[in-house]
């Protein structure tokens, strides 16, 4: 089955720093989503981005489907950005998401 790899696995930032999280996937996908899992366990939708570029405030994402990767950019990080960031893909319309192992982000004041 499809493989989803996220890097880096762990990231520590000072408040105000910028970062880039990467998601590589091994096959074509119909759907790609980025989530933030907060310390209470809630998965929060960040982007639905099977291709192209989107921006939402301090966050932006780019998916290059032909090269099978997606990037999540966080600018001017805040302590509330801490948590785990997951990339998840739907491989070819099977209507289920396959998740990567996540990037654990800690933002210190």
């Amino acid at each position: 089955g499809i493989q989803v790899e996220q890097s880096p696995p762990d990231l520590i930032l000072q408040e105000g720093a910028n970062s880039t999280l990467r998601c590589n996937f091994s096959d074509s996908v119909n759907n790609l989503q980025w989530f933030h899992q907060n310390p209470w366990g809630q998965l929060i939708n960040l982007f639905y981005i099977p291709s192209g570029t989107k921006q939402n405030g301090r966050l932006s994402a780019t998916t290059v489907a032909t090269e099978r990767y997606s990037l999540l950019y966080i600018s001017s990080s805040q302590t509330t950005d801490s948590g785990v960031y997951f990339c998840a893909v739907d491989p070819g319309g099977y209507n289920k998401l396959i998740f990567g192992a996540g990037t654990r982000l800690a933002v210190h004041p």
Partner: protein, 114 residues
């Protein structure tokens, strides 16, 4: 309207007990999914419903796991004769379906089997 809701939020079961976990999807969402998340890992797919039809149950780990959505809205995940390895967070998600496939997740039910 409201997001996906799940109940109970926490459940402690003794090994061998049966449990039932409930999911209320977003109103109007045709597709409903169950995932299992072990500690420190990403969620893993269990099963998928389109309305009341269970179209994919390939992720259910054993025949002790059973899911239903009889009226195409609320869904229940039932685990019979719970084992310690069933301890995990069980997440429910829903989407509009019909090509509008962005999934929205509930807060999860944390199951601990003692």
């Amino acid at each position: 309207g409201a997001g996906v809701s799940q109940s109970p939020r926490y459940k402690v079961a003794k090994r061998g007990q049966d449990v039932a976990l409930r999911c209320d999807p977003i109103s109007g969402h045709v597709s409903l999914f169950w995932y299992q998340q072990a500690l420190g890992q990403g969620p893993e797919f269990l099963t998928y419903f389109q309305n009341e039809a269970q179209l994919d149950k390939s992720g259910l780990p054993s025949d002790r796991f059973f899911a239903e959505r009889p009226e195409g809205s609320v869904s229940t995940l039932k685990i019979q004769r719970t084992q310690q390895e069933d301890s995990a967070v069980y997440l429910c998600a829903s989407s509009f379906g019909g090509g509008r496939n962005e999934q929205y997740f509930g807060p999860g039910t944390r199951l601990t089997v003692t």
